[in-house]
Symmetry: C2
Amino acid sequence: MSSVESPELRPTLADVARAAGVSTATASRVLNGFPRVRPKTRRQVESAMSSLGYARQRAARASTGGRTGSVALVVCEEVLRLFADPYFARISAGAGKELTAAGLQLVLLTVPATEDYQAPVVRYLDGGHVDGALVVGMHGRRPLDLGWLGIPVVFAGRPVCPREPGRFSYVDVDNRGGAQRATQRLIDAGRRTVATIAGPQDMTAGVDRLLGYRQAAAGAGRDHRGLVVFGDFGQASGEHATARLLDRKPHVDAIFAASDMMAVGALRALRRVGRRVPGDVAVIGFDDLPVGRRTDPPLTTVRQPIEEMGTRMTAELLAMLGGSAAPGCAVLDTELVIRASA
Amino acid sequence: MSSVESPELRPTLADVARAAGVSTATASRVLNGFPRVRPKTRRQVESAMSSLGYARQRAARASTGGRTGSVALVVCEEVLRLFADPYFARISAGAGKELTAAGLQLVLLTVPATEDYQAPVVRYLDGGHVDGALVVGMHGRRPLDLGWLGIPVVFAGRPVCPREPGRFSYVDVDNRGGAQRATQRLIDAGRRTVATIAGPQDMTAGVDRLLGYRQAAAGAGRDHRGLVVFGDFGQASGEHATARLLDRKPHVDAIFAASDMMAVGALRALRRVGRRVPGDVAVIGFDDLPVGRRTDPPLTTVRQPIEEMGTRMTAELLAMLGGSAAPGCAVLDTELVIRASA
DNA sequence: CTGAAAGCGCTTACAG
DNA sequence: CTGAAAGCGCTTACAG
């Protein structure tokens, strides 16, 4: 015991080099899998590493311009919402798959709702702990100030008003088109009073889906004033919004909800006042979450390829890390999936 | 444009010092909020920082023994299970609350199920990117080899066979006691054939809950051979296990499931073959997840304080980071919550 | 193929 | 209160 060095000190690369009788430069080359090392030397170093139980202090690479081997997925919500919303689960799954295949570690970061909420997260991102970041769910109230970040960033959804528009990449979904088609279906089915439960207007997804609704309504010569209520994409907000809507326009006979969770809330509110779906009121959601298959009646909705967003975002980020040219933007298609509610 | 330095290079602390007309030592002191700096000097440095848009390369601190300001929560499951199991959500919520209060960033890490699954995660943990780690859901099949980690670690649940038993802290729940009380309730209610759906035996929670069942059964002089079936804590496994059980022991009239999700599966399986709960078969779960309140009938279960585990683990970790003496272990109480299923 | 040396960005005794 | 200098662990031209 007393003949070895202090057992609490982790071995460093210099220790490994010494034990193997080589320079730290060579030890580093072995550590990083460089080709030009004599097999015998390589073996010496490797065995020194394993007998010392060497583990590289990866953070030290950062100061030297190296990579950390990890990528952040920043979800601009509190921990509890991260888990409550299946959207995040699926996007994470998509990202995780790609990253794992590339041998990179996915690091999930959440933004607490404190006053200076962004400080710790931005500090982390800025701190050289990750090679790049995927940012999900950003909205006006939580506008991560990513201005000075030294790493590539890809957003899920067109970011709200980025300081430097051209600087960031994003992968979006055709929110406007999807909302328009959904609304059009309600109109084509002969519904007279087609309302919408819009999403938060500080997120482009909320804005674009409302825009799609308005275009369809205007195109059909409808006056949609008073037929727009707002929610936050969550179920409870959909339920409340529907109640308000029913108060204001008792004769409403169709609702386009800008998210499935809000549509589920709408279904509950309608059932509580005894309206039949789709008999009295037709309902269409947006997202195509699994829950929509189990509602009563099953939910007609606009499918967005959430998991694919995760994989595409990751692919784009990997391209940037690989030194791709300009930031790229992609917009994925949506698809109307018809079930029983409309 | 051309009169300033290359715009792509982030400013370093040396740049700040130069701009402020001080040494890097002083700049560093301001950056770290040391007290002994003349107010005027401090202001100069601060304004240089903000006008240069300085962001510290936090990773560089690691090599120097400093703190990163972040803590990992390692969930030994794939991304999708992380989101599927409410247990992780609640423990994360508990940890997140404590950490946010301490101004630390929570970093969620997941362990992909690839062959050498642990490599990236351990590399990350070993890399100096976090100050400590909370480890959740570890089991025999995924035995993170944390032996050489240079940072403090706290486990959720007594770890399986740690290499160095005294080295790690953990916060556990009285699994054995809870399981025993649940089983005893079934026996006291006059049930004759009390079976259990046990959890995975490569996790101490699975082992301890089975032990509690066995003790109660033995205490009542029961022969419980053939009355133990196994699942993986998930719903589907509970459903299948119940089907097997029914095959083997058609006259079973009580089931203690080692998790609520498995109990939910049991309820489904029982309903499918037309058994009434609790009339024909009484069922008790373990966890007290929200889902148990909405089953038909509502689920009698053993409550474990999951969120508190998260906060206690975090508190313990913070104590270790603060230089507390020995690793500590805590065991939290469970509580039988009686609803309609038993 | 390998080593001596300089460097990455930040921190910390040690002087003053 | 402040600075010059050495150091953290790792990497990378530059020679050979």
